[in-house]
């Protein structure tokens, strides 16, 4: 193991890790927003939108992220929309993750008894107030494990971003191996960087799950 080499390329991996983290986080946050809207549309049975959401969930969950990225990266310019690689990565992750997040939130929302909503409505809350203040907090407790599993899963999926020439961790490691044949060092740095991003996320998930579990059960 050449520690001097590792020391030299560390800043490079730091930059790549930041890119992975930044695009991953942006994509995941967007995915969560899409998921919330999707789940709300399914809950309220918005006639046409509901069909569209169901179809979207199936498409996004049953096609590989790589294929989705190619669609965005090579497809959008064909209809005149110019994009940069980072935008493609974020959009692709939001598209894929939106489907999974819709499912995660939907199951949480379904677990909340409809009488809870009626109780809120009978007090004079609007539908959206009832959703935000009554349904969502209880649904969140039920959805938390699935949502956090999705967060970790989506962060790992960023490893295919290199295919649309985003200079993320995978890209950097492949580059370094190709240029200098530093396979062992590169792999060590790659694994180390991913663990540094993902382990805290997993731990945060476990922590949140414990905290939220109280909110769900019992009337």
């Amino acid at each position: 193991m050449d520690w001097a080499y590792i020391g030299r390329v560390l800043p490079l991996y730091g930059k790549a890790a930041w890119l992975t983290f930044r695009t991953g986080t942006a994509g995941i946050l967007l995915a969560a927003a899409v998921g919330l809207l999707g789940a709300a549309a399914l809950r309220w049975r918005v006639p046409v939108i509901r069909r569209i959401v169901s179809a979207y969930v199936e498409v996004s969950r049953n096609t590989p992220l790589l294929v989705q990225l190619f669609f965005i990266y090579y497809g959008l310019p064909k209809i005149g929309i110019r994009t940069d690689p980072e935008f493609c990565g974020i959009a692709g992750l939001a598209f894929l993750g939106g489907g999974y997040m819709t499912e995660a939130f939907r199951s949480g929302i379904e677990a909340v008894d409809s009488l809870q909503e009626e109780s809120a409505l009978s007090l004079g809350l609007t539908q959206s107030q009832a959703f935000i203040h009554v349904i969502l907090p209880q649904a969140a407790a039920v959805s938390a494990p699935a949502v956090m599993a999705n967060v970790v899963f989506l962060m790992k999926e960023t490893s295919v971003f290199s295919a649309v020439s985003l200079m993320d961790l995978m890209f950097t490691a492949k580059d370094q191996i190709g240029l200098y044949y530093r396979t062992a060092e590169s792999l060590l740095l790659l694994v180390g960087a991913y663990l540094m991003i993902l382990l805290p996320l997993s731990m945060l998930g476990t922590f949140l799950e414990r905290r939220l579990r109280h909110a769900g059960s019992g009337t």
């Binding site: 009488l115 809870q116 009626e118 109780s119 809120a120 409505l121 009978s122 007090l123 004079g124 809350l125 609007t126 107030q129 203040h133 009554v134 907090p137 209880q138 407790a141 909110a215 769900g216 059960s217 019992g218 009337t219």
Partner: protein, 249 residues
Amino acid sequence: MPEAVLKISHLTKRFDDQTVLDDLSLEVREGETVVIVGPSGCGKSTLLRCVNALEDIQGGEIRIRGEEIRHDGKNLPEMRRKVGMVFQNYELFPHLTVIENILLAPVKAQKRRREEVRAEAMELLERVGLKEKADSLPRQLSGGQKQRVAIVRALCVHPDILLFDEVTAALDPEMVREVLDVIIGLAERGKTMLIVTHEMSFARAVADRIILLSDCRILEESSPEEFFTAPKTEQAKKFLQSFEFRRSR
């Protein structure tokens, strides 16, 4: 004669092709307590849910102080605030403390000042003996305590009429009284109420008027005295007999 707070005219309610309420008319006047009794499945809950516009209706109309309340109407949240509802299973919000449960609608929906509502809520909680439970979570309360909180929560919205749907049916017997006493207290203070119950001695004590609902209709409407001592219809007699026990010797 005091004005009608609730006026139901020719109400028809169907679920698919099952008619649950058929051409039903009913008035509740200011300060009046009306009790609805009737066999299980005769549409008592459905009637209350229609008044709160939780159900759509297929005919007739429901007015609160002259204003129509409809499932698909405008200003629905505002109209619903005129109607307070207490459910059989309390339906407190489990993630909020007692005081947060009470403050939610007045603060978020009515935009009233938090401090002012809190003061009112604490006073009402004290009156029902739950002042020290203000910061407890619902799961830390007994059924009877939860139901008293639910009543305070409904009161704090300042509804014109309160609806009670078998609010003691889910309670252990020893907790029934503490809840019913609260409701009797409200009647004494002149609250306008429409109550569904299976507690006959409570019905007799609290009601200004008793209504027997059966076969989608109002079968009998009379003073409690008359209803319990001299029921007019055969169905009312049968219904009352179903609450009596007799041992043949």
